[in-house]
């Protein structure tokens, strides 16, 4: 089993299966499963992004959803101004990166839970600002987006189109994460996470590397936010509440910090479970959905405190 999991073809087989899914899912309730698959993909992107901050650099961020919001609103505003969809996505990533870098420059000297609470504060500041700046964002009423359907030749169903686009984004992000993880930069991050002072004494520019991890993670959130806005063709501040930030942190921790497969599985479990219950639970049990969700959160944590699929490096550290 373990051997199969770590086989070098396994990720590619899984990717092919995932890509084929919407075309074979017709037999079952396809609309719903493809839609949920896409949403899971968006949270995989968010999780992969936060993994840079939390998993690699060990910086605790409780306001990550703010950058998802910045990406979504940048896309909405750009498309309203007439930008084509692809350009809007690029802009979303760039603006998100810039905001994140500015934030990082100011707050990265804070440590541990102080950083957590400041990022949480920034998350709320971002949401409230979007809600209050009616002239730019249309405030609580939200913004409509024109449809953008670049994959119209593959399927008429926008769910399938966005599912495939998100899947591609997840695949590219996984490869990018893996390459960075194995690079000089990735090793520097791990050195910093394990022992900051030792890392500094070894000549690693700690501040710069931390800022790099912190900033890079926003690119994923910006891309996810942009795709989300284009898929829904509508953005509203109601989508970017504090709870969503907690959900992303839970995905990374529950899946396994610093572990790419872990993050993917974490998103699959946490984002997939409530819709699964919506689908399969009878009407009498529907109110219990989030009670069960909480139960799953506690039980999985107790059962696998290191995460469902912890990174091999961490596992080695912890068992030694």
């Amino acid at each position: 089993m373990n051997k199969l999991l770590h086989h070098k073809w396994t990720p590619w087989v899984l990717l092919a299966l995932a890509a084929a899914f919407p075309f074979v899912a017709g037999a079952i309730e396809a609309n719903y499963l493809v839609r949920v698959g896409g949403v899971i993909g968006l949270f995989m992107l968010l999780g992969l992004g936060l993994n840079f901050t939390l998993g690699y650099a060990g910086l605790f961020d409780l306001g990550f959803i703010a950058f998802y919001a910045v990406g979504a609103y940048t896309t909405a505003i750009a498309m309203k101004a007439g930008a084509p969809g692809a350009l809007a996505l690029v802009l979303a990533v760039l603006v998100t990166l810039a905001v994140r870098a500015l934030l990082g420059l100011t707050i990265l000297r804070l440590r541990g839970d102080y950083l957590a609470v400041v990022t949480m504060g920034f998350g709320e500041i971002a949401r409230l600002t979007i809600n209050n700046l009616d002239s730019l964002t249309n405030g609580p009423k939200g913004m409509q987006l024109a449809p953008w359907r670049p994959l119209g030749f593959l399927s008429a169903d926008p769910n399938v189109q966005y599912y495939l686009m998100i899947l591609a984004a997840v695949a590219v992000s996984c490869v990018a994460s893996r390459r960075l993880e194995d690079s000089r930069v990735g090793r520097a991050w791990i050195a910093i996470r394990e022992d900051e002072i030792a890392a500094r004494l070894s000549g690693i520019p700690v501040r710069e590397y931390k800022l790099l991890a912190f900033t890079l993670s926003a690119a994923f959130a910006g891309l996810a936010g942009g795709l989300f806005a284009q898929w829904e063709q509508f953005v509203t501040p109601e989508s970017f509440v504090f709870w969503e930030s907690i959900l992303v942190v839970s995905i990374v921790v529950l899946g396994g910090m610093g572990s790419i497969p872990g993050v993917l599985v974490g998103a699959l479990v946490l984002v997939g479970f409530p819709p699964l219950m919506q689908w399969k639970l009878s009407a009498d049990w529907i109110n219990y959905r989030y009670l069960f969700f909480g139960l799953i959160l506690v039980l999985v944590t107790l059962f696998r405190p290191q995460g469902i699929l912890p990174s091999s490096r961490r596992e080695a550290e912890l068992t030694s």
């Binding site: 396809a30 024109a146 829904e232 063709q233 989508s239 919506q278 009407a283 529907i286 989030y290 039980l299």
Partner: protein, 386 residues
Amino acid sequence: MIFRRAAVLAAFAAFAILFTACGPKEKVVKIAVAVPLTGDMGTEGQGLRRAVELAVEEANAAKRFPFKLVAAPYDDRADPKEAVNVANLIVSDARVVAVVGHYNSGCATPAAKVYARAPIAMVSPAATNPEVTAQQNSKDWMGPRMVFRVVPTDDVQGSYAALFAAKKLGKKRMALLHDKSPYGQGLAEEFKKGFLAQGGKIVSEDGISVGDKDFKALLTKLKSDSAKPEGVYFGGLYTEAGLLLKQMRELGLKDPFAFISGDGSMTFGLFDVAGDAADGAYLSIVGVPADELPSAAKFVEAYKARFPSDERKPFDHFGYEAANIIMAAMERAGGPDREKVIAELKKTKHDGVLGTTVFDDKGDTTSKIVTMTRAVSKKRAFDTVR
């Protein structure tokens, strides 16, 4: 350790049983109720679910249809992403004939796009943002027009309240508060427009957040405002309205300092939150009050009999009406056919708890009757102001 593993395995086994326990499915037709059933807005969503269940049970008892009709609940948690999720689930289920939902405008707007592609009719009992129906006329709309709304948009209530404040109460200076939600802000903006048109003056405008509890600082500011407001108009829901009233009275802002709000605050919950402080609050309601319309009074009685431990929530009668309008359309269509039901819904002329409902070319109700009521806490009632 062994104990822990056993406990975890037992829990997972329990889940597995829960999921497989749904037995054989009998032949039914469903009306979907897509509202927040859990989370912060769960209170309001549960009320809507009860109202639709009541309507469906009444129809089954009267044998209106040759099949069993059920109200199928879907939980959107007031989260736009989950709303689109459940919209996709609803359109996948061929037994669903139409949708009553969603509660929030932020959920109704993107979910409607999914229903349009099916297409399946959506009748909203609570989402008041004009965009929910207006988007159907945009060039980007993919599908037929199938969004309907039994709850009037903000302009109807807001401007009536403005007229009432200026003409009936003789107010010249009002303060404006709203909860920064599409509903509350929309109401407040329309009130402002109307009140300015009446020659009144808005001395201040403040937004609060849903979930805030402490408004004393804000109210203290209003009280000592040099522009001397003679009352406050609040766009928002009963929880915040109740707390505002309670804290206003505690700070000594009493009659003739007026408190005016809309139908989101006109619910018995207001008395639970505000207590005696609710006395004298003016609340507008769309349509005719229950005691003047026999059909509405019947609904109030039936609701009380069916759900004795639950009080009605502000939008419940809209949910009940939405379900009844769908059922009437289904009768005229001769069966549970989604497209025929949409066509019949457009021709709706329904006499029910809201008076007569007719939809205009956007799908909005043309009913423009607004009644002003005054809260009486001792009776837990809202008396009509003439």
